[in-house]
Amino acid sequence: MHDIPLTWFLIFASACFVIGLLGVLVRRNAIAVLMAIEIMLNAANINIIAFWRYSVPGPEESPVSGPMLAIFVITIAAAEVAVGIGLILLCYRRRASADVDQYDSLSG
């Protein structure tokens, strides 16, 4: 019975993070970009929880410092999505498009 090495989790998280970044780079639809950002946030959470579980908290540290950070990240992600969808709806109503590329009236 072998335990999973820490690096496996880290590499999985890195792979997800990079895929999310790829999504941000190649997708043009604002909602798709939002989804890619969610992937990146989740990757960071996996990292955090892996580090937490594979370490012994120091005497002054909270025993749940990792999960705490992850919970706040989840909170932030939810808030960000709500605001993002609100903004996208607002733009869509004015432009009838949710593609970031279409928003080029401001430039220079």
């Binding site: 072998h2 335990d3 999973i4 820490l6 690096t7 496996w8 880290l10 590499i11 999985f12 890195s14 792979a15 997800c16 990079v18 895929i19 999310g20 970044l21 790829l22 190649v26 997708r27 043009r28 909602i31 798709a32 939002l34 989804m35 890619a36 969610e38 992937i39 929880i49 937490w52 579980r53 594979y54 012994v56 908290p57 909270s62 025993p63 749940v64 999960p67 705490m68 992850a70 919970i71 989840i74 909170t75 932030i76 992600a77 808030a79 960000e80 999505v81 709500a82 605001v83 993002g84 969808i85 609100g86 903004l87 996208i88 709806l89 949710a98 590329d101 009236s105 430039s107 220079g108």
Partner: protein, 215 residues
Amino acid sequence: MNQILFGVIATLGVLAALGTVLARNLVHAALFLVAFFFLVACQFVMLEAEFLAAVQVLVYIGAVAIILMFGIMLTRNIQGDDTTTVSKAGFISGGLAAAGLLAVLVFGILDDEGRTGRAGWRDVTTRPAVYPVAARASAEQTKAVNNMGFVVGRELLTRYLIPFEVAGVLLTAALVGAIALAVQDGPSTDDPAERAKKAAEHTAAAETEPQLTSA
């Protein structure tokens, strides 16, 4: 056994993430995203953070995915198809950049050799055991793993009091702001005639708006 399980979950997770990024149909992408969220929750279970897994499912699948679906429905054609295509060149350059970053990250993770007072990441192959197995494990840590919900609740109101309050303000701000943004600015009066007049003004103003752009 759990190494195999990890492998399966990780493979599926990467595939789901790729599906999210590459699927042309936005609803399909969102579905892949849901699968990804679920697999991340499975990873949390593999890391013995069942509470967090439940929170992940509750918030991400139960709320975030739904908001995204609503967003797709309200902004695009009903089919959810992404009509914009990505140029092959953009795809290749994006992919190359991502692959390079991944290579650096993986190299960095595998190369981490540890410093004074800390083992290198590559040398950490087992997680610290908790109470019944390891006498060394502290009671606090054991409780944090075995009953995370309880410990998290306690910490939220002591050590993490300030972040907790800030999170409250943040959620309030997001709620208020998202509603203010998404609501249709209607006329605020209750008289129907006034309402119609105002609505007409509103559209007229929108049509005659000057293009405020610069070179």
